[in-house]
Amino acid sequence: MLEAIYARESYVALKKTLDAAVLRHQAISSNLANLETPNYKRIDVNADFDARLEKALSSGDVSKLASLRPRIEVDSTAVPDALNGNTVKMEEELLHLQRNTLTHTFALQVLGRSLNKIKSAITGRVQ
């Protein structure tokens, strides 16, 4: 009976988005920490994650969504900026940080508020 709440597409998709956002934040932290490290290559969540999420959502199959696993990979599209082979560009990385923080906040808020609403509906009291 709980699948009615927890196995809904939008809910699972939100949880996966949050997973990816947390992972991406860690990747960005790693990148900015290694801003001055020679030959460091920028990392990020696997580039096809967004495409896979979209595909799983449009397929209508919740199990496909549930089986998605974001992971961290080296960003193959990044080219070295500095002479020391480092592919991290500070301004871009800070932009990634901002955008990802927004995604994280969004997913967390919607998730938290949905659960609150469901709880209100169940108990009949406003949470």
Partner: protein, 142 residues
């Protein structure tokens, strides 16, 4: 909630009709309580049908219908309680792992915590509603 009208003329048939009406009312209550749990309300409406199929049924079939109805009920409720418990067990495991120093992501623990809370609230409400219905049913008097 649907209002139940009690027909007070011939003794046994009216009691059975009231019984049937009550079971149907319970089904309606379950629908409201859990708009999302289609399976559950399905089971409950089956209950209403498992009772006396026609007003002319004898008292014997009424008592016979009771255990069968309970069997369906038990399965649904039992499964639900297990699901709620699973959620709590999962949360407990994640929490334990986190406290033990393993790198469980914080958002995973918090989400599981919230989910367990909602599941538990649902179970409590279900129990309350069932208890209410049972009391009303019992207080009807025979």
């Amino acid at each position: 909630m649907q209002s139940v009208s009690l027909n007070t003329s011939p003794l046994s048939t009216s009691m059975m009709e009231a019984h049937l009406a009550k079971a149907e009312a319970m089904g309606a209550m379950a629908d409201q309580m859990n708009a999302m749990g289609g399976q559950f309300s399905q089971q409950l409406s089956q209950l209403g049908q498992v009772g006396p199929g026609s007003p002319a049924a004898t008292p014997a079939s009424v008592t016979q219908a009771q255990p069968a109805a309970e069997g369906v009920f038990d399965n649904v409720l039992g499964k639900f309680v297990h699901e709620v418990n699973d959620k709590h067990v999962q949360m407990g495991n994640s929490l334990h792992a986190m406290l033990a120093g393993e790198n469980v992501p914080l958002h995973q623990v918090m989400t599981e915590f919230q989910e367990a809370g909602v599941a538990f609230a649902m179970m409590v409400e279900l129990r309350n509603k069932l208890l209410e219905s049972y009391k009303e049913l019992m207080s009807m008097g025979l």
